[in-house]
Every structure is written in structure tokens, then in C-alpha cells.
């Protein structure tokens, strides 16, 4: 019998929600790391009992926790994230040069092939890798030393590297995204990088089609089709069919193309999910109606999914790392809100139910399908 484990990071700790394959009855465990911000938790696809968690606090800094038994017990591992060489400067909000300073780990991405290997996306933006289960971390500094680094600038949430997508077909290829620099790709395992922002247009920056400076909120890929990428940008839903070399807008009939998460159905590479948010100034659903939008055409045409979701007086946000899918049949879709709800759909988004309603603000949601 298959099982599902949902890993939820919140402003005040982490929670593990588990169910059998029917996804009707849920067990809620937590809080883990009580009182700390947990930006992200993610399990190794090679060893599902190996889970990594980013635990941080404005008072006491960053820790990385690791479980080797599916989240029953945890051990702190390495928390030294030292930039390689002279850190240099990036742009501050007012355009002045500001020194690179480590603040926190936004995203942990375990390797697709090695349980002891894991990537960390951090603020101020950089990519780190550990080959020893998180004990030590080395920066892949070719990214930050791409010539555009001094032109990167923080978004409202900080200058964070929040998306890491290893290519399942080409082991040397990794996609990452930074707010607000844009998307980048390496084809040589992280030694060298190039920006992949051709086709993005951002009206709020001095040069709307600049090589870097775009506030990319999230990128998603279906593993069977790694050259096709979907992007939720600050504004605009974008699609690339050439591994990011070029992008075209597929916002179509969405009520707003501002938002944070974007996700792809686990069995249908052209089925994509977003959660429209009213605007960059009003981070809540349009008209107070919480709607997931689904495209079954790879973007362009979108349908509202509302059954089981609040359709009045709803003013929560859904953050960029707070949506995930399982790989059961039918595909389960999950997302968490800043109001502390975690919603699950066991039928590809047709119907929704809250698993829990009153957690602290949800920062991230990941799903494990355990067989």
C-alpha cells in the first residue's frame, strides 16, 4: 500500500503530515524545531528516509537538520556557509553596492542520484553543495562570479536563491533561480553558469528585457521533459521549450498572472498549476477567492479549481515553495498558505480538502510518495 508524507515548513516549526494512498485520513506530527522558522524540508529521492531541513531564526542564525529515519529523529549537521574567496558586492535596494552576507538557507535540493549529496540555495544568493550529508558545504562560486553578480538586487523578501532543479537526463545540468536576478543554467555540474532570461519582460526594472534583474518567483519542470520549463515570474507565467534559452508568455486567461508557486502534474507534463495573487502590492487572492488554476495545454488556457477552497473572504498568500505533487494515480496536489492551512487534492485538483487549518504561516510544502 502506498503512503504519502507531506513535509511542511512554517514560521514556527515543521510538521509532517502522513496518510495512506487514499489520502483521506491524515496524521499530523509536530512541531519539530518548535519556534524556529523552517524555510524548507526535502527528502532524498534515492533514500526516502533521508530528509534535510533548513532551521533558522533572526536571533540565532542558521542550522541544518538531517534525519535518517524518515523524520522520527534529527541531528544537526554543518551550518558553515562560507562564500568562496572575496564575497564582493551586489546592488542594494537603492542601487548602491552592498557586500554579500549570508543570511539563511531558502531551499535544500537533495541529489537525484546520491543520498549524501545535497544542494542549498541561500540568501544572499549563492549555491552550495554538500557531498557528505550536510556536514560540510562548498560554494559553487562560478554562479556568483558570473559577471552579472554586482548587478543582482534583492527582491522584497531578500536576495534569495530559491529554486534548484537538477536535470534528470543530463547530470551536468542544473537550473536555478534568484530573486531578483533571474534564472541561470549550468551544463558542467556547476563550474560555469549563464543567465537564461531571454524573452522575460519586467516593466519594473530599468531595462525591461535586461540579461539579469528579473524577479523570478519559481520554476517547475516535469522530469520526463527536462527541456520544458514553466516559470512564475513576479508578473507573468512563462514557458521555455529549449531549456531556458528562450521564454514565451503563457499567462492566457488568468485573472492575475502575479503569484509565487508553479507546479507540474506528476503524470501529465502539459498540466500546470498556479495560484494567482491579486498584485505585487496586494498579496492575496483576487476577489477574496482562493483558486488554483490548472492548464492542461502547457499554459495559455487556464481553468479555475475551486471545489473545497474558500470562495469568499479569503486573504491568504501561497508562497513560492509551498506547492507540491505526489506521484500516485490520480496525482495529488498540495499547497500551504500564510494562514496556516494545508490543502490537498487527491484528484489532480478537481476537489480540495484542508489537511490542517491552523498551523503557523506555511513557508514550504514537499511531498514524498512512499511505496
Amino acid at each position: 500500500m502506498s503512503k504519502v508524507r507531506v513535509l511542511v515548513g512554517t514560521r514556527k516549526g515543521a510538521f509532517i503530515l502522513s496518510s495512506d494512498g487514499k489520502r483521506k485520513k491524515w496524521k499530523v506530527e509536530g512541531p519539530l524545531f518548535s519556534g524556529w522558522e523552517v524555510y524548507h524540508m526535502k527528502a532524498s529521492p534515492v533514500d526516502p528516509d533521508r530528509i534535510y531541513a533548513s532551521q533558522c531564526s533572526g536571533w540565532f542564525g542558521q542550522l541544518i537538520q538531517r534525519s535518517s529515519d524518515g523524520g522520527k529523529t534529527w541531528e544537526p549537521v554543518g551550518n558553515t556557509f562560507a562564500y568562496d574567496g572575496i564575497a564582493g558586492t551586489h546592488q542594494w535596494y537603492d542601487g548602491t553596492a552592498h557586500p554579500w552576507e549570508f543570511k539563511r538557507v531558502w531551499h535544500l535540493e537533495p541529489s537525484l542520484t546520491e543520498p549524501e549529496a545535497v544542494y542549498a540555495g541561500v540568501e544572499d544568493a549563492a549555491l552550495f553543495r554538500s557531498g557528505d550529508g550536510g556536514r560540510t558545504w562548498q560554494e559553487l562560486s562560478g554562479l556568483r562570479r558570473h559577471g552579472s553578480g554586482p548587478r543582482w538586487q534583492p527582491g522584497a523578501g531578500g536576495m534569495c536563491l530559491h529554486t534548484i532543479i537538477p536535470d534528470p537526463v543530463n547530470p551536468g545540468r542544473i537550473f536555478i533561480a534568484i530573486s531578483a536576478a533571474g534564472a541561470f543554467r549550468t551544463d558542467d555540474g556547476g563550474a560555469t553558469w549563464r543567465p537564461i532570461n531571454n524573452g522575460l519582460r519586467s516593466e519594473h526594472i530599468p531595462d525591461p528585457t535586461a540579461e539579469v534583474g528579473h524577479c523570478v518567483h519559481r520554476i517547475a519542470m516535469h522530469p520526463s521533459r527536462p527541456n520544458v520549463l514553466f516559470m512564475q515570474k513576479h508578473w507573468d507565467i512563462m514557458r521555455s521549450d529549449d531549456a531556458g534559452d528562450s521564454w514565451r508568455e503563457v499567462s492566457g486567461n488568468l485573472p492575475s498572472d502575479f503569484g509565487f508557486p508553479i507546479e507540474v502534474h506528476s503524470h501529465e507534463p502539459d498540466t500546470v498549476y498556479v495560484v494567482p495573487i491579486k498584485s505585487d502590492s496586494e498579496h492575496f487572492p483576487p476577489e477574496g477567492k482562493l483558486r488554483v488554476y490548472r492548464s492542461r495545454t502547457g499554459g495559455g488556457e487556464w481553468e479555475a479549481l475551486t471545489k473545497g477552497l474558500p470562495q469568499k473572504d479569503c486573504y491568504v498568500n501561497v508562497l513560492r515553495d509551498s506547492m507540491a505533487v505526489d506521484s500516485l494515480d490520480s496525482c495529488g496536489v498540495y499547497f500551504g498558505t500564510t494562514g496556516g492551512q494545508v490543502y490537498a487534492s487527491p484528484d489532480s485538483g478537481d476537489t480540495w480538502e484542508p489537511i490542517v487549518r491552523d498551523l503557523p504561516a506555511v513557508l514550504s510544502v514537499e511531498v514524498q510518495t512512499l511505496r
Binding site: W36, F60, L63, P76, A82
Partner: protein
Amino acid sequence: MIKVILPFHLKNLAGVSGTVALEVAGPPTQRSVLDAIEKAYPVLRGTIRDQGTGKRRAFVRFFACGQDVSHEPDENPLPQAVAEGREPFMIVGAIAGG
């Protein structure tokens, strides 16, 4: 023995309750006490002082004998009462946030 009082979250991380007692060689200073804490409880490395700069984290304060000594040079000797274990060296999380 130097007595140290850790804030709630650092007690939990270190797996201790109450006051921590530490042996510090020579006249104790902020730096030598913090070095001893981090040696005894490696999980606390980076939680009190930034690992890169070695500086006190912005929202952490140090108190000794009722005085805020956060801004004193970290090589200055701590008060005699702390050195003799009659008063604790307190590490405090600033009141901030929600």
C-alpha cells in the same frame, strides 16, 4: 567554574536545562567563555556568534552582574563574581519580532 545561562532555544539545541557550568582556563573573558560553550556544545556554533566574522549576532545580548556587557571588547575580563561562579554570565535573546 563559570555559570552560563542560555536562552530557551539554545538550551533546547544543546539539550540542557538550567544553568550550564563550564571550566575556563585563565581569567574568563566573553571570548573564552563563548569558546568554551561552543567546544562543549558544538551545535551552538554560529548561533551566538557569526561563524564568518566571529561577531555577536545582532539580536543576542550578554549580561553579567546586572550589566549589559554586549558592547564591551570580547577580550576584557568578566567581573570577578562571574569568574568565581557567584554570578552567571547570561546570554539573552533580544525581545523582538512576533
